[in-house]
Symmetry: C3
Amino acid sequence: MKITGTFLDEISYDIPHQNWGRREWRRDFLNMRSIGIDTVIMIRCGLKQWLTYPSEILMRRQNCYRPVADLVEMFLELSDELGMKFFFGTYDSWCHWHSDHPEKELELNLQVVEEAWLRYGHHKSFAGWYLSQEISRGRKSVATLYRELGRCCKEVSGGLPVLISPLIDGVKENRKQSISLEDHQREWDEMFSLIRDGVDTVAFQDGHCEFHELSDYLAVNRQLAEKYGIECWSNCESFDRDMPIRFLPIKWEKMRFKLRAAEAAGVRKVITFEFSHFMSPNSVYGAAGNLYHRYCEEYGISTAMPEN
Amino acid sequence: MKITGTFLDEISYDIPHQNWGRREWRRDFLNMRSIGIDTVIMIRCGLKQWLTYPSEILMRRQNCYRPVADLVEMFLELSDELGMKFFFGTYDSWCHWHSDHPEKELELNLQVVEEAWLRYGHHKSFAGWYLSQEISRGRKSVATLYRELGRCCKEVSGGLPVLISPLIDGVKENRKQSISLEDHQREWDEMFSLIRDGVDTVAFQDGHCEFHELSDYLAVNRQLAEKYGIECWSNCESFDRDMPIRFLPIKWEKMRFKLRAAEAAGVRKVITFEFSHFMSPNSVYGAAGNLYHRYCEEYGISTAMPEN
Amino acid sequence: MKITGTFLDEISYDIPHQNWGRREWRRDFLNMRSIGIDTVIMIRCGLKQWLTYPSEILMRRQNCYRPVADLVEMFLELSDELGMKFFFGTYDSWCHWHSDHPEKELELNLQVVEEAWLRYGHHKSFAGWYLSQEISRGRKSVATLYRELGRCCKEVSGGLPVLISPLIDGVKENRKQSISLEDHQREWDEMFSLIRDGVDTVAFQDGHCEFHELSDYLAVNRQLAEKYGIECWSNCESFDRDMPIRFLPIKWEKMRFKLRAAEAAGVRKVITFEFSHFMSPNSVYGAAGNLYHRYCEEYGISTAMPEN
């Protein structure tokens, strides 16, 4: 099962920036397409005071800084050109929803979503929305955020799909007391029942549990998603959570293990967080280029540079 | 406002070494010059037992190891050749002044400064001194060190200028209880009153406070410096303090933000810590080369390799 | 004194993987040979559930995953071709011997060693064994493991030598209370008396004590080893333990210091942990290539790429 989607990590939270300009981004989109990636998901349009596009709402209401470039426009132009689908990630204030005021995060993002659609909705590659507030456990206040914000996204955009990518509260997330499979199932059963009207697709991150636990989690996630009519993808993380350097590219054997588990579980699509740092031949991390070569070998993909 | 000076991080404290020889250093000096850097500041001539030059005093008194190369001589020769100004950083014992015996650090460094001037003072590029004991808060014992050591530096060298680069005790330095702007102002007002006879220039590090606080700190620093007749520069850090990997190159947008803040505050010169790891096309970190390209684009600098 | 051996860090514990395939490994073996490395030591044949070769025993008894490639076969073929000596590292369950059940680790590895010899013993380059359970302090239960497992290794293989590489419980291993030289000597005197029948060679890791302490530790280690008829090597670590990024290549000057200390102590051979990440021109870490160049300069080694 191949990876056909990737996050674009802008604004990055904990991954150092590669300082790419348009030329470097275009080259990377070409490489993505050449290995079969058809979907790019901008993880968030803004984080705290940093923005991917000059949002009048966020500059006014959150004192965000005017960005040096309009990355949303650039990503959409590249997606238009190369026939890729672009998902727009919502704004993450960091403060509101973590301090248990998701209603403020919702209210703000309702405006952001309208603004974004007005500015960028004409692009043929604008294909969906990503709700950037990522959680691992059942939280009703976040369920409301997902449902209401997701509904709004769909309403303004003529029904474009809405994606979320939660965590598993496993041993690599919660080292003191990881969740049990049963509690995960119970909590997400309730979550899905609450958010089904606003969320079309769920792609759990696959890196927080032990490798031998992954199949069970994937199976539960798929069952729950099907029960509520939500499409189930897997977010196959391409960085290594087992190393003291946080984070560098994953070992190919681990990624292959997770891809096979996703295939066995019957998920519909595999995306990754994320191509450009961790599995691109253009990455500043040399092991990413090597991961790309191992991946291409496995799937019989030629690694000659694609025509530009 | 362009960066016209950089530290040379030898002996490095927390930045892994690039293992450059003379050829690699010369190439980097050429790149520095090509973007307008006219000043290089060797951050310290020794740290604990490691030395940049074979100091008889430090080998005898501190049991320092005889160094494999004379980096001071090499840096001065390259600076002579390329018309750059070299600042010599004092020795950092690590033990004396941290354990509140700055008088021992002073006594030792008075000898080191004399030795260094005797060995290297004939170089036309020897242009000043850097006091390597970096502090964030008012400490009278360190004020004495600055004043007396700075006076000695100037005396032996016919009045060459003395530079310090303090920290702001902000949220990225002191996560439990960052300083207030008022306390910073009060403490450095007193510090400057005590050190003015020994210190000519101050370049506060710009990376320890939140981005939105930076303008206020820059304004206060400039006011205080002017009040005491000290020249005010800014030390624009080129590594990213917001990431779990400590440290990789900064995101260009953050650096640009800080450069604009420095310009708005009217500082006289901007230096960086430091070019060779974090914004050089020769750096082992790929994002540094990309930062260099973004920086050069902003200022319209051609990035063709300079003639050697 | 030159480095003539290196570990192969598979399965890696805390060093991110470079994602090399056979072509990349072959190139690196060529580089190793070109600087005089004649010995490669695979640090372990498996760690927890990950394996370097498809061990039926470990897949059945430890639920290990079937590996994507047979690295042992590949390393042996490359060693055969290039005339190098290969040491096979035992399996590390991580759980048994850390939780003070070394007898389980022993019982399991007795089978692994037999299996490995049956599969790979015909290779002319199969030259010895490495006991992968690394300790710093005297532990009688681990002494039993070493002696019995080492005896078994020698018995099945017609007397091939057995290597261990312990730590010194110095300040960089045990920051709260590093061991004294006297306690180190006393504990390893007893350990050597217990393991002498199973262990032929000891190569203490050289990175956990302060640099100024290293000579004393090397002298003690050599004396103890000679007393019990064990050959004494040094394991000169090529990564830097003094930096917040854990781990990147060491500064050349530090490595040179440690090599000279090893030579002065009269050890018989110097190996390193390890060439491929930390001192190879093929490493994903740029400072490793620079370390290689500094090392080659010191020893007058031409760095033209060796014929393939």
